[in-house]
């Protein structure tokens, strides 16, 4: 394709090609400082193509193509090209990943142990993870958690954090403006802005971590926390995984082993409360481990 960029995010290499220069330029700028794929070989290819040949110039319209595609995907405007590239990478992982068990989750790490935040879209997982990443935790990822079925360890996949609407302002107050991608308005999900993880997250992207606490956050309720049993956790995680079924026995073993990790559901009315709850539960989980 005319324009392309290759980059490695954790253990996965991507090549993103595009009929237009702008999306590739925006992607390269957003991922400044990221390594190239190992041996220059990408695991997945994404291609941003015109929906019809003349749509390369007239009211440019992007079809997201690649090694794996969803035929029902709505085309995207050229102004949202960076978002199209990100969605394309998400799609390759969701449909094509067969080695790692994928969980729709945000993960942060401290002392070699991972905190996994999982649950419905819109619960605020990305924002919480981004904030924790600026408060003494290392961000491992905000969209996908990669679980090694053989070892049970989580591997980092630190993509640019996708912030929506109000969350953009929250993070803009916290971090250097240079880490942000362009403001994209009028997307199917409202206003979106991407935030590059900090230097530590990029530098340490090849360090795995042991799962230590699973949290199911829910926004908009009075502060509360309750333990979640293993069977319920297992069931919820099968729904949070894009490739549990495809991995067969390995997926079953990986997930049944993962649910030995303590799990809790937390409700929170605002992010400050959420951060307090997270720290309190993390300390609690450490104490259970120390006592065991």
């Amino acid at each position: 394709m005319r324009h392309q960029v290759s980059l490695r995010i954790g253990p996965v290499g991507f090549r993103v090609g595009s009929a237009w220069r702008a999306p590739v330029a925006a992607l390269a700028a957003l991922y400044a400082g990221y390594p190239a794929p190992e041996d220059g070989i990408a695991d997945f290819t994404v291609r941003l193509e015109p929906t019809r040949p003349w749509r390369r110039w007239t009211r440019p319209s992007i079809a997201i193509r690649g090694d794996f595609e969803l035929p029902d995907a709505a085309p995207m405007a050229l102004a949202h090209g960076l978002l199209a590239a990100e969605m394309g990478m998400n799609l390759q992982m969701a449909l094509g990943q067969r080695f790692w068990l994928l969980l729709h989750a945000a993960t942060v790490e401290k002392d070699g142990r991972a905190l996994i935040l999982t649950g419905e879209s819109g619960a605020g997982k990305s924002t919480l993870a981004a904030l924790l990443g600026e408060r003494g935790w290392r961000l491992m990822g905000d969209e996908f958690a990669l679980l090694d079925p053989a070892s049970g360890r989580l591997h980092a996949f630190p993509r640019a954090i996708s912030l929506k609407n109000g969350a953009i302002d929250v993070m803009a107050a916290e971090v250097d403006a240079a880490r942000f991608g362009p403001l994209l308005e009028g997307t199917p999900k409202g206003a979106i802005r991407h935030l590059r993880p900090n230097a530590e997250a990029i530098r340490r992207m090849d360090e795995p971590a042991r799962p230590a606490l699973l949290l199911f956050p829910r926004f908009g309720q009075a502060a509360a926390a309750r333990a979640v049993g293993q069977a319920e956790t297992f069931m919820r995680l099968t729904q949070a995984s894009t490739n549990y079924v495809a991995l067969g026995r390995a997926g079953f073993d990986a997930l049944t082993r993962l649910v030995a990790t303590p799990a809790a559901a937390i409700d929170y009315p605002d992010t400050a409360t959420a951060l307090d709850l997270v720290e309190a539960l993390w300390t609690g989980a450490s104490e259970w481990r120390a006592a065991a």
Partner: protein
């Protein structure tokens, strides 16, 4: 596999055996995991449903949602552009969007409900069904 409850008096010679409840006749004791691809892929991108799909381009939609030859009496015309996920949800709720007759709305809704795996628009429909 061992039974669910341990005997209470472990220190004694067990003359009491483990209790097993059989469950109410109407109870559900087996839950099968259903794949969640549609939900997670659907949360990843906006989707659309062409009515009818490319396999039946130009066909009209009968009130039961099947495709029929153009001009069939009582059938709704094909849509000039694909439905967005939001528009599909409106139709599936039974509402009539502006510019469409109630009969046509019902025909389109039934067409969507008849979509099967492999047909254009199916993963979009499936992702609309998943609880968010």
């Amino acid at each position: 596999m061992s039974a669910p409850e341990e005997p209470e008096a472990k220190g004694f010679v067990a003359s009491r055996r483990t209790v097993l409840a059989l469950g109410a006749v109407a109870a559900s004791t087996v839950v099968t995991v259903r794949p969640a691809l549609a939900q997670t892929a659907g949360s990843i991108m906006a989707c659309e449903i062409p009515v009818p799909g490319p396999h039946a381009a130009g066909s009209y939609i009968a009130s039961d949602g099947t495709t029929v030859p153009p001009g069939t009496p009582g059938a709704a015309p094909p849509l000039s552009r694909p439905l967005t996920g939001e528009e599909a949800k409106v139709l599936l709720r039974g509402s009539t969007p502006p510019g469409v007759s109630p009969q046509a709305a019902q025909a389109y809704a039934n067409y969507i409900r008849r979509l099967q795996a492999g047909m254009s628009g199916f993963t979009c429909y499936a992702s609309l069904q998943m609880p968010r």
